[in-house]
Symmetry: C2
Subunit: 386 residues, 2 copies
């Protein structure tokens, strides 16, 4: 696939894993890629400069949050999200759907869209596929997502089918609106004419529903496709199975984005199953809760046994935090409630994620990804070892 602003080329393969380059209006992204989450136009506790130093090539913005505050009109008047937040690299925005389901104080799903009350002030809104498209056109992200329905899990087959089918009807409307905005930019201020729109595959854990969703979503035709409805509490093995089943059904020449995943070992397992793009709040959220994600596994800095431990959080790590500070000091900062704890912990966790992706990309170039994947599992454990 190829267009002026948006282009994806797979440069290397190993099994189902792919090494590629994704071109966007704000620059080229090396895939597989991890996207730090910048919920309200900022990745929590780190500055844009720190993100750039960490090697972040793209960040994610949450449409729900930005729509409610400061508002899409204001951001459009400022020239779009890139200019408003002072970040000139690529940005992906979600549709707002996930936060409507997880944050809004009230929500009601109708065929028209998702009615909800703001968690900030209780104001009533209806997020339709068209509005989610318009808002993202105003934000001017490089990659916009269609509005989809996120259902509670585990879902019955009946509920999963109904929701998946509604998501497809919504995707059709979102794509129609996206095309209309391209043809008539006077409808809303389109701040990034090169924006791409990704469809989202749903279908919970039912292989046939996933296959149906892939067929219908690719039939509509988007610049690329995401797998939604995973990392919502199911065991990792179930997620891996759904990804293994779904990813190969998606067009080989388009990037594949697994939404909201995950733990560091998930990155390896899903790259191995053909995923190119990831996002997750886990590295930054866990950092704020005092958890370091290390090459050995999670480390909770709150633990009293670190009170006098002068080793760095992850002895093998080359990040600023690990090169400079001890567990004892970082525990002191955390226990004292110093904001710097959130910053230093986030810098490490983001470095760990971004560096892991760098190593995955390098291994894919040299054909050593499978070896790296096995090595990673030999030291990394989801249960704290240290």
């Amino acid at each position: 696939m190829s267009s002026a602003a948006f282009d994806f080329q797979v440069t290397h393969r190993e099994g189902l894993a792919r090494r590629g380059e994704l071109r966007t209006p704000h620059g080229v992204i090396q895939t597989p890629v991890f996207m730090p989450v910048g919920t309200r136009g900022a990745v929590k506790a780190v500055t844009h400069r720190q993100l750039a130093e960490l090697g972040a090539e793209i960040i994610l913005g949450n449409t729900y949050h930005l729509f409610l505050r400061p508002g899409a009109d204001l951001i459009a008047r400022a020239g779009g999200l890139h200019r408003f937040i002072g970040w000139d690299r690529p940005i992906l925005t979600d549709s707002g759907g996930y936060q409507v389901f997880s944050l809004a104080t009230m929500r009601r799903i109708r065929e028209e869209g998702a009615e909800f009350r703001s968690h900030l002030d209780g104001s009533l809104h209806v997020l339709t596929p068209e509005l989610a498209t318009d808002v993202q056109a105003q934000l001017g992200s490089d990659i916009a997502m269609v509005l989809d329905e996120c259902i509670a899990t585990p879902a019955t087959r009946e509920a999963a089918r109904e929701s998946m089918e509604r998501s497809i009807r919504w995707a059709e409307r979102a794509r129609a609106r996206f095309r209309r905005l391209a043809a008539d930019p006077s409808l809303v201020p389109v701040t990034n004419p090169g924006q791409a729109q990704f469809g989202i595959v749903q279908g919970a854990t039912f292989p046939d529903l996933r296959a149906e969703s892939v067929a219908a979503t690719t039939a509509i035709g988007f610049e690329a496709y995401a797998i939604g409805g995973l990392s919502v509490g199911e065991p990792p093995e179930v997620m891996y199975e759904v990804v293994a089943h779904t990813a190969p059904l998606l067009p080989d020449d388009r990037p594949r984005y697994l939404m909201g995943t995950g733990m560091p070992d998930d990155l390896f397992e899903c790259v191995a199953r053909g995923i190119d793009m990831f996002d997750c709040v886990l590295p930054t959220r866990n950092a704020r809760n005092g958890q370091f994600l290390t090459s050995q596994g999670p480390l909770s800095i709150k633990n009293a046994r670190f009170a006098e431990d002068l080793a760095p959080p992850d002895p093998g790590c080359g990040c600023y935090t690990c090169r400079t500070f001890s567990r004892a000091y970082l525990r002191h900062l955390y226990m004292s409630g110093e904001m710097t704890a959130a910053t230093l912990n986030s810098l490490h966790n983001l470095h760990f994620y971004l560096d892991t992706m760098r190593r995955i990309r390098e291994a894919l170039v040299f054909g050593t990804f499978e070896k790296l994947r096995l090595e990673f599992h030999q030291t990394f454990s989801r249960r704290p070892r240290i």
Copy 2:
């Protein structure tokens, strides 16, 4: 004055203002200097690396906080405060007295020392001149302060005299202890043998008490001297008068440290009256409260009229925040409660303070300090103009 590790040389003068170099065991400080406050071993919301990039040459640590958590013994076992916090430039520690008076849930002043209950857990402690000296020896700061009594203001002449005289008796005991530790390092773990100890002049706003305090404190003999008991709520003019009266009484060959000051214009006025060293929480605390200190004066980013203002906080400023972000975005971050707001605002305010001191030092070299002082007052106002 001169010793192996601690040395002060005045290199330029303009009126009473001095440009100098202060040598400490952890490096040379260019004076006049502003010292960011790193209360609990961290300057709030900024990393050490950001501080170094801002040009901070020395930071301050609060003995009260570090004594209570994580404890001086633990820090000494880690090799001292520099090693514990990963900051290899100079550090000044206060005596803990000020926080006993401002933070402790109970305090009782006896001749022996200040009895207080920890604001953290209510535990009972007695901070004596000897203990404050011992704790700072364990911390291993480059400059330690004697324990002095901080009285409520405005104070009667009677109370001011009594307190000033007690501070002198405490200073004698602190100096005796300091000398004893130097002679017998087995008493407590001394982590920085090159540590200097500063005496503190008290006497509230009474010129004769200030003069008496100077005479008695210099008679004891310290590496250098601070002026305490100011910036505690008195009008700026009163502070300037006390400084103008007191600073010239202090030895000309020693650095003079004005504790806890102040607003940006205070820096100019007190340099003009012979002060060499400053510390204040104002740039970082006000930053966390949404106030930018700019060349024009304070700017409260909360103000609704900044909601769509795409100008930087201080158009003339070259800091990272002003070069990268708009008032509109910074307001959005602040109103959203993003931690990054505290960081970006603190980076600006610290840059403004440190850059102002750089300009003062440069002007002193070229003999243009008086001109710079008048220019500064022409644009800077304590009342918000923008």
